[in-house]
Amino acid sequence: MHPSPLDPSPEPALARVRLVVNGTGHDLSVQPMRRLLDVLRIDLGLTGSKEGCGEGECGACTVLVDGNPVNACLIPVVQCDGATIVTIEGLAEHGGMRAIQKAFIRCGGAQCGICTPGMVVTASWLVDSHVGKKLPEVAIREHLAGNLCRCTGYGQIVDAVVQALDEETIAAGGAR
């Protein structure tokens, strides 16, 4: 992003940061303490990730950085230099929805939708990291504790994870 021509004060110390977001490389010159969330939403126009709280509590801003679910509101962009980032926009593969996304729709895992982008990103990580393994309901709830939902009551979301994990496990050739 270029500094606005209307802004008379040149930025004092911009950092050069390279990100790969949803498969596309970006070479940015940014304030180093700018939050990853703002870079994604404002600079790159990826408004799928939401800001619910800005303090790490709600998980609406969850994205995958180098494969791990993290809160984009708590990461200075400088710490993502060289990182590979996947946002909700990049989750679908080859234009088709993943099993977890379809399961959310089938199970009614979304109502108002504000938590959904972050919830689906965390849930996708949970499924991917447990293909072929046992994942009891209590563990699903524990892993999703950093994603707050005020609408669904979580039951439908847990169902979606269970169903998607079964499907992915079968697709990977494992027993369920």
Partner: protein, 289 residues
Amino acid sequence: MTPTAPLVIRPANLADALAQLHSAATDSPLRPMAGCTDVLVDLHFGKPAAPAYLDLWALRSELGGLRWTDAGLEIGALCTYADAVSNPRFRAELPMLTQASTLVGATQIQFRGTYAGNIENGSPAADAAPALMALDARLRLLSQSGAREVALSDYYTGYRQTQRRADEIIGSVVVPGHRLDCQGQWMRKVGTRAFQAITKVGLCGVFGWQQGRLHDVRVVAVSMAAVLKRCPAVETYLCGKRADEVDAAALRAAQAVDLRPIDDVRSTADYRAEVFARLVEQAVRETAA
């Protein structure tokens, strides 16, 4: 809300980081940043930014991970909770610290938060720092002039005040060998929710038994004072006792020597004192069994 634009120093390696800390130490000390789960929350709530930060996150290959040595287990400054609990040996030898690690925030926080950051942040309601204190952990502080070790139980000098000098970072946290796989590791966090909750009252301890009597006792009180606190009077009282010899009134009297609980938004002093005493009783009961 976007934090204002402070400078961020991006060291090439550990030696460079220590050199930069050293040259800035007297005039305008650099603030280290690791997983930033405390640093960015402070900025979000409008606390003034440091003039300049020192980014340690990129030094994970030098300062991360777990290392078993003759001295015990060395936890690198950049080791996250998720890094540690993914290691089967860590989980087997340090069940209490594993439990504490999985209670810090939730998944997303555990992929970013570090043990060193938890310690340096200095919250009296922290989860990992008291578990480490109960395990007799020591800190290796690094500066350009070398390394020094400080016992974690001596590290805090006041509310969110530590012994760290402006030219130092925590390089690692060392759990001594005698605490690896030691019996009687026990913790409980009392909060308002099972996960992603701040501790109202907590206890981390070691309750080691020999021939039916407590002989190796560590008790650390969480969220009971301005700092995380070991409880020497409670430890001395319990040492040598059988479980059925622990007297409710005498235990509370010993506890009153160690702790004068705080009254704050999360709980009253009376509630804290009574719940803490019951946590000690529960720990004795459960580890004796």
